[in-house]
């Protein structure tokens, strides 16, 4: 029993260490003082209004939304067939391809961002928006391949074979038998990739430019010059959005299976 209590105190301390900063940020978003202060004096929603009145925040929010949505959809279109091929077909060098696709999650974001910058912006001179989209597509793909791939691995391959013997072509069997059975993991991988892409800083930082800046990069730049509760308010909104998405994933698949 004593050992157990020691463990729960330790776990509690870890959680406190993780969550107290977030709680403090949340509280500071409601203070009346024009610089971030804790504890706060007074109570106001004015910083939240300020977030919505700030044109560059709103522009970059819409851009972020657009880039993340398009990039993740693109990653789904490429990633689902890729995951299927990796699990079902006897692809040569399967494990190499797998680790290659997962590499953006292992290699530090700055390295990925820098190499994409070198390649996309400097070498190929692709337009900013397309380049940003491409970068986000690349960092989204591993999530799709990994999550969809693991649920494909758990799916009994013989249900496809039985569909073939019943007269279904391979394509039809994939659409009518495989897809419905992995739909929840497709949704979960979409959400994960979307959150990751939306919140990404290193890749966006390297690939953005005049007029093309995602919300996290805009926020970073804003903090450099302004230290007021607008930052806290925006952070709270971002956290809220992420929590809602995570809740949706939890409802559809269970987080434990995905992460």
């Amino acid at each position: 029993m004593r050992k157990q209590r020691g463990l729960s105190i330790f776990a509690g301390a870890v959680f406190a260490f993780l969550f107290i900063p977030l709680i403090i940020i949340t509280i500071t978003a409601f203070g009346e003082n024009p610089t971030i202060q804790f504890p706060i004096t007074g109570f106001t929603f004015q910083w939240f209004t300020a977030v919505f009145e700030n044109q560059s925040f709103m522009d970059s929010f819409l851009l972020s939304l657009e880039v993340s949505l398009l990039a993740t959809l693109l990653a789904l279109i490429i990633g689902i067939p890729a995951a299927y091929a990796l699990t079902r077909q006897g692809v040569k060098g399967k494990s190499w391809i797998k680790s290659f696709f997962l590499s953006p999650t292992i290699i530090p974001g700055v390295v990925v961002g820098y190499s994409l910058f070198q390649f996309i912006v400097i070498r190929l001179q692709i337009p900013l928006f397309t380049g940003l989209l491409l970068g986000h597509f690349l960092i989204s793909l591993p999530y799709i391949i990994r999550v969809v791939g693991s649920s494909l691995e758990q799916l009994d391959f013989s249900i496809e074979e039985v569909a073939w013997t019943l007269g279904s072509t391979k394509f039809k069997a994939f659409i009518s038998i495989v897809l419905p059975n992995i739909s929840s993991s497709i949704f979960a991988s979409f959400m994960l990739a979307f959150i990751n892409s939306f919140n990404n800083i290193p890749v966006s930082q390297f690939l953005s430019g005049p007029g093309i800046s995602t919300l996290p990069t805009t926020l970073m730049n804003y903090i450099e010059y302004n230290y007021n509760p607008v930052v806290s308010a925006l952070s709270v909104l971002l956290m809220l959005g992420t929590i809602i998405l995570m809740f949706l994933i939890e409802k559809t698949l269970g987080l434990a299976k995905v992460v």
Binding site: S158, I159, V162, L166, G167
Partner: protein, 346 residues
């Protein structure tokens, strides 16, 4: 020419090792044949070649007058039941069973009627709206069977369909399968590693080993007269000893004892084999019986309906099952009698 013909089928995944080599198998219309063998013998591969899930490297596969070797799986119209049942988890029993008919673009009323008929025939109409995970193992098995049968397939292929059921259900399901197969007169290939199951259900059995068919005969013939040592071992012969031919039906063991058998071998050197159940024991103080060897009981094991003895003789250890009570004790001297109609030469 037979109804179903597999000719010189060779399957190799890597180009070096053959999973199946020179495999020949023919079936008549309406027959139920079994592919029997240990795991890795190629029986499932053979079934998958028939189904079209594996394309053979060499050989031809014909049904009736048509060569199906290159015909893709979805155009073959064979019903298949997998070991895992492979029910579609997101569809109800009714939708599972109707899946094949829907693909055949039949009229809605026709589909409904056929599905209802097969659900009734397989005793599933009460569960039609349930999902696979709400069913028991036996019910799932019946759904898989119904789904394969409703498309009125030319061949029915069963890949160890009973191995996931408990012992009691297994017996009633195999009777059920046999009944339906007979009623519909559907040519069926049944893959199993369980010899009792296979003998009880099949018209013919192909015993497989290492990618070849060792013997293809009726169950009775295989049980009584295994042609090779592998087949004999697989179906329960446990005593093997070398024999030298003296005359058509007379042989000598390695220590020179004369043994007679009703069978005959082509070769000079051959192997004799007999089931533990078929050997008789007689006490040492009796007069020496014919066709017998002297031996000593080394191990005695109680099996329930009989005792199993390990008897040491001049030609090695022999296993004997004997029902006599109180039986023999370890160390007893006995005669091991080998009935001449039970000694098989392989």
């Amino acid at each position: 020419m037979s109804f179903v013909d597999l000719k010189n089928i060779r399957v190799s995944y890597d180009g070096k090792n053959n999973i199946l080599k020179e495999l020949n198998l023919s079936m008549e219309k309406g027959e139920l044949i079994s592919l029997l063998g240990p795991s890795g013998c190629g029986k499932t591969t053979t079934l998958r070649v028939i189904a079209g899930l594996i394309e053979p490297n060499d050989g031809t596969f014909t049904v009736g007058d048509s060569n199906l070797t290159k015909v893709p799986v979805h155009k073959r119209n064979f019903g298949m039941v997998f070991q895992s049942y492979a029910l579609f988890p997101h569809l109800t029993v009714r939708e599972n069973v109707g899946f094949g008919l829907k693909l055949r673009k039949e009229k809605k009323e026709v589909i409904e009627k056929k599905v209802q008929a097969i659900l009734e025939a397989t005793d599933l109409s009460h569960y039609a709206e349930r999902y696979p995970k709400q069913l028991s193992g036996g019910q799932r098995q019946r759904v898989a069977l119904a789904r394969a049968l409703v498309i009125e397939p030319q061949l029915l292929l069963l890949d160890e369909p009973l191995s996931n059921l408990d012992a009691k259900l297994r017996i009633s399901m195999r009777i059920e399968i046999k009944r339906i197969q007979r009623k519909l007169g559907i040519t069926t290939v049944f893959v199993t590693h369980d010899q009792e199951e296979c003998f009880s259900i099949s018209d013919k059995v192909a015993v497989m080993n290492n990618g070849v068919i060792e013997q293809y005969d009726s169950p009775e013939e295989i049980y009584k007269n295994p042609k090779t040592e592998f087949v004999a071992r697989f179906i329960g012969f446990e005593n093997f000893f070398a024999l030298t031919k003296q005359d058509t039906h007379t042989y000598t063991t390695s220590d020179g004892t004369l043994i007679e058998t009703v069978h005959s071998a082509g070769r000079q050197q051959t192997t004799g084999t007999i089931r533990p159940d078929d050997i008789l024991l007689s006490a040492h103080d009796q007069e020496i019986p014919s066709n017998s060897l002297a031996g000593t009981i080394r191990v005695r094991t109680f099996l329930g309906k009989s005792y199993q003895y390990e008897v040491e003789t001049s030609i090695g250890k022999l296993l004997v099952n004997d029902v006599q009570v109180p039986g023999y004790q370890v160390g007893d001297k006995v005669f091991v009698v080998i009935p001449k109609e039970k000694l098989i030469l392989v």
